[in-house]
């Protein structure tokens, strides 16, 4: 039941989000037809603009356009791009996996570094290791992601010449090169994310270690290693997973900076050009896909919570 209710709320949220985007983009000045036809720099012919507007359905009243758009969305049809008449879904399907790949690689890095690191720091609370790693985490959190990216390019591509400065090569074509090109933007994002994971894990482990049931486990004479894995980490990871998921969600739109620095042809980068061209279906499509993923991610977190903690399911 709790699951269905959460799902319902999510669907409503996504619908409202789509409507808001639709309205916002129509209320702001800028005519897609005019923009399309004025590409040469010369003022477009009025008659041609009118014809194109008709063709694109832009002369119909706003509520009709809105209704049509929503109707199409209900049938999982994102419409066609106004720029080249290709289906919006095609472009999204091509670019989305690249952005997701980037995010997942960064998330993996954060999990591998942050969670063991945070646990170790919590176990040695107050030690030199704890203080040093906490300080490093603060530093990593303070460096904006595009600064990290730019510095990576400067050091590894410019000075050391180990790697190209960026770009994208399909995995099928050249797996090694693909992974190298992926590793750079992924570690630019992963650095800050690792620091977030580190801090969260450390705080959560410290928190759980004070719980009564951990004291019970100690009173039972359970070995410290087992207390850590069975009683501390499992509970401590719940808030950590939440934060990770939320951060990964934020990254869905947030990879744009790194995609820009490393020339990574992902989804968020294409959003900027779509908005600039006032390509309504394209913008709504991209935003909708991202917010569906974003909201879906939050929903998944809730479900994972329910699985990990039997009390939530009630």
């Amino acid at each position: 039941m709790w699951f269905l209710r959460r799902l319902g709320i999510s669907v409503v949220l996504v619908w409202v989000a789509a409507s808001v985007v639709f309205l916002a983009i129509h209320l702001v000045p800028g005519d897609p037809a005019e923009l399309l036809l004025s590409q040469g720099g010369s003022a477009p012919d009025r008659a041609m603009v009118e014809e194109l507007r008709d063709q694109l359905g832009l002369n119909r009243p706003l509520y009709v356009q809105y209704g049509q758009q929503m109707w199409r969305l209900l049938h999982f049809d994102l419409g066609r791009s106004m720029q080249d008449d290709s289906p919006v879904s095609e472009e999204i399907l091509r670019r989305l996996p690249r952005t997701l790949e980037l995010i997942l690689a960064a998330g993996l890095m954060a999990v591998v570094i942050g969670i063991p690191g945070g646990t170790a720091a919590a176990m040695r609370r107050g030690s030199v290791f704890d203080r040093a790693t906490s300080w490093l985490a603060s530093l990593a959190l303070a460096i904006p992601v595009f600064v990290v990216g730019t510095l990576i390019v400067m050091v590894f591509a410019q000075w050391l010449r180990w790697v190209p400065a960026g770009g994208f090569i399909a995995f099928a074509k050249d797996p090694v090169q693909h992974l190298i090109l992926l590793a750079m933007p992924a570690s630019a994002i992963g650095l800050g994310l690792s620091a977030v994971m580190f801090r969260m894990t450390r705080a959560a482990v410290l928190d759980v270690m004070l719980k009564d049931y951990v004291r019970t486990a100690r009173a039972k004479g359970v070995k410290p290693g087992r207390i850590l894995t069975r009683h501390v980490v499992r509970t401590a990871l719940m808030p950590v997973i939440t934060v990770l998921a939320l951060y990964l969600g934020t990254l869905l739109g947030g990879t744009v900076l790194v995609e820009f620095v490393f020339n990574w042809p992902g989804l968020s980068g294409s959003l900027v050009s779509a908005v600039n061209a006032r390509d309504y279906p394209q913008v709504v499509g991209i935003v909708l896909v991202i917010s569906v993923l974003f909201v879906g991610l939050n929903l998944t977190v809730d479900i994972i919570y329910g699985l990990l903690d039997p009390r939530v399911r009630k």
């Binding site: 949220l13 409202v16 989000a17 985007v21 916002a24 983009i25 702001v28 609370r125 107050g126 603060s138 530093l139 959190l141 303070a142 460096i143 904006p144 992601v145 595009f146 600064v147 730019t150 510095l151 390019v153 400067m154 410019q158 004070l210 719980k211 009564d212 049931y213 004291r215 019970t216 486990a217 100690r218 009173a219 039972k220 004479g221 359970v222 070995k223 087992r226 069975r230 969600g249 934020t250 990254l251 869905l252 739109g253 947030g254 744009v256 900076l257 820009f260 968020s268 959003l271 900027v272 908005v275 600039n276 935003v287 991202i290 917010s291 974003f294 909201v295 990990l308 039997p310 009390r311």
Partner: protein, 604 residues
């Protein structure tokens, strides 16, 4: 409020002052070009060199701070104002207003923040002036949530209700009572928003969607320097450094403010360890299962060390129940935790010995102590609700205790766990073993805790307020179960409680604790009949009783361990006190066979 984060505050202030004073620092004009000297390195006139148009880099850095901070402050202020107002309105008026404000904020939260900013910027066009509302929009939800939560808390407090009853208008209530209450969290949120806005502003400017050239901005500078990073790498480094340092300082400020607003005790590792040598003459009493001698516990607090337990000695014999009774804060729980080595981080034993069958527990290495815990010495805690791990089935939690000490197969341990559940009287143990703690009642959970405790046939069972969280009928059942187990297995029971009726029911002997010391010990019946310490007497008079006069409360309070009175610690509340009582702390003295009291006037 605790200490403010002064270093971070000072550093932030320094950056802010530089930014504010930028026009009056006698710096070259940040936009004056000097193309012949483009990309020139550091010189006397240009300390950090010149950029791709020959502009002075240092000037542009400082002016960049000005732009960055003014955008960040304005955006945070705008978000703070609108967000807080929305949160307060929603929280205070409830109903439709609540739904409108909070749900509209939820819609904003449907978009990842950078995506939201990107969308709005591309729609409105770049520029510092669009940045402010854009960033404000992004950080709005944070303020609304904080304010809303604060109002809900404040609403439930009595004085807000009182003001309402007194007829104060909604507006005045909001301003006078709620605003000061949410000030702290909102301030923290403000610093967070500011730090994040600096990052977001630079990111958008870097993409060419924020501050418009030629105005100086760190993000723009980094973006521009990328093109020339082969010739002039320093050009790239300076703004990166400036941006990172600023964010570092502001993050430190956020953390500091958060700690100041929501203080949590800072942990310091124990400074001293218990003396390794045992004082001469400290030998275990023969035949006692537990012989605790001169236990003193110290806790490090910011105000200096305190001693919640001082010089506590007691013995428990096989098959005997000793009750430690006292009000909360008397040190009875700390005593039991010290015996088992489960004291929290800041507390440690400074003196004494605790012999369990002749072995001093206080000087055992942790690994040896661990092997005893749950095996020869077991504990039952007060709150069975929080003492069981909510995410594991109870059968598994009992089996874990068994397997921690005996090399049994998983299956055998589970079978034993079910047998134990049957022994402690849990109905339908086979299926209940698969239940989670939240599916059991409080009494059933305590039975599970007892099953865990007796799993390895301990010789000493320490029960710390095991019935306090339960209702009266369940209490009686649990007490009966404990007595049965004691008889059946011949174990020694150390029972810690604040309730005298419970003591009367279960204990053979009683030790009364007050303010960290034992003030009286003796056989339960005798002590109850004729207490030798005024505190015990007062405690007996204050206990609820079915017949007889209604209970009389003890006037005054237990002195906190930070402010112990000189001499007898009970003197300020004692009806029999005389001047001599405050001269020196009275020693425990013998007061008849098997009885001790810490009162100089016990037979007066």
């Amino acid at each position: 409020m605790t200490r403010l984060p002064w270093p971070a505050l000072a550093a932030t202030a320094l950056i802010a002052v530089l930014a504010i004073l930028a026009p009056w620092l006698g710096l070259p004009n940040p936009v004056t070009m000097d193309v012949p000297h483009r990309l020139a390195g550091p010189s006397a006139a240009h300390w950090l060199g010149q950029d791709e148009f020959g502009r002075d880099v240092l000037t542009r850095l400082i002016w960049g701070a000005r732009v960055s901070l003014s955008v960040a402050v304005s955006a945070a202020a705008l978000a703070c104002l609108i967000g807080t107002a929305l949160g307060i309105t929603g929280g205070y008026l409830r109903g439709i207003a609540e739904i409108l404000t909070l749900r509209s904020i939820d819609v904003l939260l449907c978009f990842p923040p950078l995506l939201l900013a990107l969308l709005v910027v591309t729609l409105l066009g770049p520029g510092a002036t669009t940045l402010i509302p854009v960033l404000a929009l992004v950080y709005l939800p944070g303020f609304t949530r904080v304010a809303y939560a604060g109002v809900l808390t404040a609403r439930s407090q009595d004085y807000v209700e009182a003001m309402r009853v007194l007829g104060a208008g909604s507006g005045r209530i909001m301003l006078r009572t709620i605003l000061p209450n949410i000030g702290g969290p909102v301030l923290v949120q403000f610093s967070l928003a500011m730090a994040a806005a600096v990052v977001l502003e630079s990111g958008l400017s870097f993409l060419g969607l924020g501050v418009v050239p030629p105005a100086p901005s760190w993000g723009l500078m980094i973006g521009a320097a990328r093109a020339t990073m082969a010739q002039a790498p320093l050009l790239l480094l300076w703004p990166c450094l400036a941006l990172t340092l600023t964010v570092l300082v502001m993050n430190a400020l956020c953390d500091g403010l958060r700690d100041a607003v929501d203080p949590h005790p800072t942990y310091r590792p124990a400074a001293r360890r218990l003396l390794d040598a045992i004082a001469p003459g400290l030998l275990p009493t023969p035949k006692a299962v537990l012989d605790l001698a001169h236990l003193t516990v110290e806790i490090d607090t910011p105000a200096g060390p305190i001693h919640p337990v001082r010089d506590v000695s007691l013995q428990v014999f096989p098959g005997e129940t000793l009750a430690i009774v006292g009000e909360s804060g008397s040190g009875k729980s700390v005593t039991s935790l010290a015996i088992t080595g489960l004291l929290p981080g800041a507390a440690h034993v400074t003196e004494g010995a605790a012999f369990l069958d002749g072995t001093d527990l206080l000087r055992l290495p942790e690994e040896s102590l661990r092997k005893l815990r749950g095996d020869k010495i077991a504990m039952v805690f007060q709150d069975p609700g929080s003492s069981l791990n909510p995410v594991h089935r109870i059968g598994a939690q009992i089996a874990e205790a068994i397997r921690a000490h005996r090399p049994l197969s998983d299956k055998a341990a589970r079978a034993e766990a079910i047998a134990l559940l049957r022994r402690v009287g849990l109905p339908d143990p086979d299926s209940r073993a698969r239940a989670y703690p939240h599916e059991l009642s409080g009494g059933q959970r305590q039975r599970v805790m007892i099953a865990i405790a007796i799993a390895n046939h301990p010789s000493l069972l320490i029960a710390d307020e095991p019935t306090t969280a339960l209702d009266v009928t369940i209490q009686a059942q649990i007490l009966e179960l404990l007595s049965d187990l004691k008889r059946e297995r011949g174990l020694a029971l150390l029972f810690i409680t604040h309730a005298l009726p419970v003591v009367a029911e279960i204990a053979d002997r009683v030790a009364v604790m007050y303010a960290g010391e034992i003030v009286e010990t003796g056989p339960t019946a005798e002590v109850f009949l004729a207490p030798h310490h005024p505190y015990t007497a007062a405690l007996l008079r204050s206990a609820p009783d079915e017949e007889g006069p209604p209970p009389v409360g003890i006037p005054g309070i237990v002195p906190p361990p930070t402010a112990l009175p000189p001499g007898c610690t009970f003197a300020p509340r004692c009806p029999r006190a005389i001047p001599e009582c405050t001269a020196a702390p009275p020693a425990l003295r013998s007061a008849g066979a098997g009885r001790l009291t810490r009162c100089i006037r016990w037979n007066a």
